[in-house]
Symmetry: C2
Subunit: 351 residues, 2 copies
Amino acid sequence: MSFRTIEWTGEKLILIDQTKLPVEETYVDYTDYREVAVAIKTMVVRGAPAIGVTAAFGVVLAAKELLALKAVKTGGDFAAGLEVAFATLAATRPTAVNLFWAIKRMRGVVEANEGLTPAKIYKALERQSRIVYDEDIAANRAMGRFGAGLIAGDECTILTHCNAGALATAGYGTALGVIRACVEAGKKVTVFADETRPLLQGARLTAWELHTDGIDVTLICDNMAGALMRQRKIDAVVVGADRIAANGDAANKIGTYPLSLVAREHGVPFYVAAPLSTIDFELSDGSAIPIEERDAVEVTHPGGVAGAPEGIKVWNPAFDVTPAGNIAAIITERGVARAPYGAALAALRVK
Amino acid sequence: MSFRTIEWTGEKLILIDQTKLPVEETYVDYTDYREVAVAIKTMVVRGAPAIGVTAAFGVVLAAKELLALKAVKTGGDFAAGLEVAFATLAATRPTAVNLFWAIKRMRGVVEANEGLTPAKIYKALERQSRIVYDEDIAANRAMGRFGAGLIAGDECTILTHCNAGALATAGYGTALGVIRACVEAGKKVTVFADETRPLLQGARLTAWELHTDGIDVTLICDNMAGALMRQRKIDAVVVGADRIAANGDAANKIGTYPLSLVAREHGVPFYVAAPLSTIDFELSDGSAIPIEERDAVEVTHPGGVAGAPEGIKVWNPAFDVTPAGNIAAIITERGVARAPYGAALAALRVK
């Protein structure tokens, strides 16, 4: 991989600035967890797994700050102080459950080390954040292998939406991990990438990431997938997810749901690749997944230039929910789940 | 109407420059039919009916030029000279059949006046172009009335794609004509407008046109229609068309076909509003409709700003075909056609 999405040096967190890609490849240093929260909110870093990993390092930065404060003497003081950071990081984006999963995991470390000194709890937190990072890459490689096994033949054409790539994770990617694994397995892979309005993660990030890695990619607008499937054989749609309910309903970047309808109409298998940390077993179905609505300017100013009349009303939901019935399989790091998803996902959870 | 899409003064053709909207409301004068052809190609004027009307005036400008040439003595010389203009205008855009319909109609005038002097044929052509213009507006008003009759209740929420408005016609609009007629009938109308990538005719033109006329409009990205229909009751989708085959298959701006699938999934009636000049009775179904592919830069540079990696491959079809089976009704100026469309459209043709 010629770039790093997230890097932890032990002293600071370095993020590639995804709002600047593909025009500039810029890296930003973070030592303040509050700025990490802003980076998540403004989408310097985005993608459900990457948000989770970033939040874990954000907690470590907060812990480092507390460690330097004289007023923080006991492990109890330290734990109380961390709650502020947990709340700040949790308030950044509502849909991706990996954010809350990572915070919960870090809080679990604090609780498990109750009674120890702040320095010792810090060490445990820092170790845990590195594990979260490493596990994410390992999970993506595993998903890649399981996903590649679903794609028959020596040649395949895959359509993807948004960016579920190395840039959306600690590395390798979920949906793009499946594509990378297909390439590594020696298949001739052709990719079509939806540009993904409004923030164009497909055009800016997926196209850049695959192009940089020498994988054949063609960019289309989101509304061209129907014409594409009529004209050309697409072997599979592979996307990521931001939160999957216990029944398999999957929230992902806006436009995923209509794409699942197009795929169904054309008999194209529609796969969701996501780690188990994306599955919210507390939600019975997708209707309760909170959907973030973002600023109108993302829609009115494509490329930063005014493209709509001033003062026009806008509706800008960042995600939609694809019903489990439209999903051919959910690819996780522990294996492939098929309908009925309730039982299949629960089985993978305890595997 | 506070603006004019197309104006013929008897001396020159004036077009509102639709590539500059909504930032600038600029009008451009044309006296050379070659420049009219460029205006069609570069989408200064667009929308199937508007292209047809513009081409008719383009023929008049060509005729005026020939009339001033000493070498053109007979009606035969004149007719031969006009063939060059017909060919130039016909080579601008391949999908909208109204272009070829208008040229055919003007050629018919030349043939009907065979043997007369150039001055007399010119007069007949000029009269015909004004008739084409007036008929278009009358047809839109008729479509509006028929279409409004399909929308029950005192309040309605309508989703539209691209711009099938006053800007796509001589005036009033086809799909937006239906919306205007609903407003005139006293209904409380709420409109959602797809922005319509890549050229954003929905954001730039439909939103501007409706906002200017005081009609309640909310802008969404094309990929948000699925989430919209899940969350809110949409009473109808109304779109225009660029060419309709004899069986009712309808080519329209890219993204129309997937929108028809979303509408079908949610039980929302999907209406196509188009004059009979849009129906190509020579094509038995939509598979033979030629689909224009346009420049990659439209996709890679949203808002004119680079939004994708340099050198990335792009596929940019300007239209797609919605199968007749997804269309609840085709609204024409002679009445509403329902499936089976072959018989219904043929009946309207001879009505």
